[in-house]
């Protein structure tokens, strides 16, 4: 039992914190907000140079063999800076799906490109009717003489605008969910890109007879749902760590503001109602920290334990995040609802966090269902 950081992990945290505070200024964020890419290609290159893109990739394929704890350390720093680079899509989800489901040839071809920064990925899985049900996939993949033909619609494809390749889930004739590698420029693919709540961009995709070669399918074509669930559970752990960084920043800024802002001749923080609210915010930040860590530590556990840890963390952190975000705006008064402060950006990113891969309510139900209770997730 040891929950302290190793020397390497401490160094990673220090370098990430330093990089983020040097790079991600409010000015930088304002510039990126209107950028059609949604992030800085130059910073992405620096991520590659720092080894961050290779972090969770196995050493066999040119990676560093890091785990969920290291990802969490980076993601927490990313949260503090409201990083909009496609790290989650490409590294946390994309590289993991390839590692879980890809053939050896696919891994050799794709993973080194992720590590060196030349390949950006997106994961097209969610569909409108599915809400947050990972098993609800209506997009079809039909075998053709030359390969595959994909038809269907995908929503909220994070970083779909910037990805060179998009990993698409689709159901084959046998009813199994497969994963397919689809170039962004594929014929029959229409992409509607939009700025995403809280920073970055996303896309809604229309797949209308998209033709893909036979080797576009991941692995041997066996059902990819268990792998998708595992990867999404780990993505939720990573997002939890990011949320912790965001919440801590909101708490720090709100604390500072309530000490400076004076009304009735004294600082806001002299009022007990404000002090107790801040105490609750601090407590919920700490609870979120505990749960993000727990989900990371259980990222490789057996599926039910892993799923319950991930859903528990997502549900709990989502609840805490909403509280901290809403109270941060509240305690900043009217200034909190303006675009003139950073508070609103952090607030929106936490709102997006709660929604991504299923909100609090959904994950409490999944937690109950995985515990054998008669609840529809």
């Amino acid at each position: 039992m040891d929950l302290t950081l190793s020397d390497e992990q401490r160094l990673l945290r220090e370098s990430a914190d330093r990089f983020i505070s040097d790079t991600y200024t409010a000015d930088h964020r304002r510039k990126i907000a209107s950028d059609p890419l949604g992030f800085s290609a130059d910073i992405w290159k620096q991520f590659a140079d720092l080894g961050w893109l290779a972090l969770p990739i196995s050493e066999t394929y040119g990676g560093l063999g890091g785990g969920a704890i290291e990802i969490g350390i980076l993601m927490e720093a990313f949260g503090r800076g409201l990083v909009s680079e496609p790290y989650l899509s490409t590294v946390v989800i994309g590289a993991s799906l390839i590692s879980e489901c890809g053939t050896d040839a696919q891994k050799h071809e794709l993973l080194p490109k992720i590590a060196d920064g030349s390949l950006i990925l997106a994961f097209a899985h969610s569909e409108r009717q599915a809400r947050f049900d990972l098993s609800d996939v209506k997009t079809t993949a039909k075998k053709t003489p030359d390969g595959w033909r994909l038809d269907g619609q995908k929503t909220a494809v994070l970083d779909g605008n910037a990805a060179g390749q998009i990993i698409v889930s689709a159901r084959d004739d046998g009813g199994k969910i497969g994963l397919f590698l689809m170039p962004r420029g594929a014929t029959g693919l229409t992409s509607r890109d939009y700025p995403r709540l809280g920073g970055g961009r996303a896309s809604n995709l229309d797949l209308n007879g998209v033709q893909l070669p036979a080797e576009a399918v991941f692995g041997d074509g066996s059902d990819a749902l268990p792998a998708i669930e595992a990867v999404v559970d780990r993505a939720m752990a990573a997002l939890g760590a990011e949320a912790v960084g965001i919440m801590q920043t909101l708490l720090d800024q709100t604390l500072e503001y309530t000490k400076i802002r004076k009304q009735f001749g004294r600082p806001l923080s002299a009022n007990q109602v404000i002090r107790h609210r801040l105490a609750d915010m601090a407590m919920q930040c700490d609870e979120a920290r505990s749960m993000a860590l727990r989900a990371a530590l259980m990222a490789d556990a057996e599926p039910v334990a892993r799923g319950r840890a991930a859903s528990g963390a997502k549900a709990k952190i989502g609840k805490c995040a909403r509280f901290v975000a809403e109270q941060s705006v509240q305690l900043h008064g009217a200034m909190g609802v303006t675009e003139e402060l950073d508070i609103g950006s952090y607030f929106k990113r936490l709102l997006a966090f709660d929604t991504l891969f299923g909100n609090s309510g959904h994950h409490y139900r999944r937690h109950a269902a995985l515990g054998g209770r008669a609840v529809q997730a």
Partner: protein, 398 residues
């Protein structure tokens, strides 16, 4: 990082399990399950204390030269977790976990030699004289006076909410020995024999139907000056030291898991018409389970910091707040799980010694009293409002 315990620690865990299996009688287990108040009755609790003492485990948190077992923080964690899982009785925490550490930290050699062995063996049963009718959250305003008269103090005044004063043969108390400008500076920490002439005890019934707390009156009670712990006027410092212990040594999640398990088993049973099939109950069960996971993880983070010699900081208030709130959520869920049977009132105590068969299944009897008595969790040991003030001061620097 690693969430699992090592081979040595797992071997210790097995030793604890074996000890519990050999020493926890079915009577003790049943009595504990049917106790809806915060503390076990002394006949149950002290039987367990004697078994622990025989094994050398009478006071897990004490240093080894005073009879502690010299456990690592991880061993203490494992011990507490296994005890909670097995449903062992509460021992006299006012002795082992409260006054014991204060005597060890600040007592005279004579006090250590006299009192500590009697706490370990269960010979002494302690109660805590802190709150007064006019001094609750504002404890430092306490008015019970101890006036020096030769080698004695003469004590006059009253203490209230005194848990198990009707069972205890000793009390540790905060008393006013001086009128000082800063009221904290006039307080001393004193050890009182409950059989001293002039002490009377009045029972106070709580809303769950239990007699657990009392009001204690002091009428010209003579206590030797030698019974004062440490210096005169330093009682507040010692008392605060003790409160940090009272708020939890940071191992509450295992107990919460055990009480939730009891409610979950009721919800899954035909006795409650399978309340768990109500999606509202099922989801609330998950919410609480997740809250317990969260608290456990925070406790493990503290434990890990302690193991590596780091200071976990002012975390006891955070843990106390969450522990008490989660405990109340579990008891509230319990009331909803048992449905109509929650309307049944059983006035006789203790519940494990009823002469007649109760009108509802026995295992449901403590559920409503536990909820009602449990409202005290966010009040005793410093109310939640006081804890939030401490968090604001100590954690946020406000």
């Amino acid at each position: 990082m690693d969430l699992t315990f090592n081979a040595e620690e797992r071997a210790f865990e097995q030793e604890v399990r074996d000890f519990i299996a050999a020493n926890l009688t079915p009577e003790m287990k049943r009595a504990t399950a049917l106790t809806p108040s915060v503390f076990s009755d002394p006949d149950i609790g002290m039987a367990w204390q004697r078994a622990l003492h025989k094994k050398g485990w009478g006071a897990p948190g004490w240093p080894v030269d005073h009879g502690g077992p010299d456990w690592t923080p991880a061993q203490r964690w494992i011990f507490e977790a296994e005890c909670a899982r097995a449903g062992v009785p509460n021992v006299n925490v006012m002795g082992v976990k409260m006054v014991g550490p204060v005597i060890i930290g600040f007592g005279s050699p004579e006090q250590k030699n006299f009192y500590l062995p009697r706490i370990l063996s269960g010979e002494d049963y302690w109660c805590q004289g802190y709150s007064e009718p006019g001094s609750g959250s504002d404890l430092a305003s306490l008015k019970t006076r101890a006036v020096r008269d030769g080698d004695d103090y003469i004590i006059n005044g009253t203490k209230i909410w005194t848990t198990h004063a009707h069972h205890a043969n000793r009390m540790f108390a905060l008393v006013r020995t001086n009128e000082t400008e800063r009221q904290q500076d006039g307080i001393s920490f004193i050890l009182i024999d409950m059989k001293t002439p002039g002490i009377t005890t009045r029972p106070i019934l709580t809303i769950g139907g239990d007699h657990e707390v009392n009001q204690v009156f002091f009428d010209d009670v003579r206590v030797p000056v030698a019974n004062r712990v440490g210096e005169e006027g330093k009682g507040w410092t010692y008392g605060k030291y003790l409160l940090e212990f009272e708020r939890g040594a940071g191992i509450a999640s295992a107990k919460l898991r055990d009480v939730l398990k009891t409610i979950a088993e009721l919800a899954e049973s035909e006795v409650t018409g399978r309340a768990i099939d109500d999606p509202d109950i099922a989801v609330r069960m998950s919410e609480i389970e997740v809250d317990i996971d969260t608290l456990e993880m925070t406790e493990l983070r503290v434990l890990s910091a302690l193991q590596t010699g780091q200071n976990p900081g002012a975390v006891s208030s955070l843990l106390k707040l969450r522990n008490s709130e989660i405990r109340q959520a579990v008891t509230r869920l319990g009331v909803d799980v048992i449905g109509n049977d929650g309307l049944y009132v059983e006035p006789v105590r203790p519940l494990y010694r009823l002469n007649e068969t109760p009108g509802i299944p026995e295992e449901l009897l403590p559920v409503v009293p536990e909820y009602l008595n449990g409202r005290a969790y966010t009040i005793f040991g410093g109310s939640s409002e006081i804890q939030r003030e401490i968090v604001a001061k100590m954690v946020l620097g406000l």
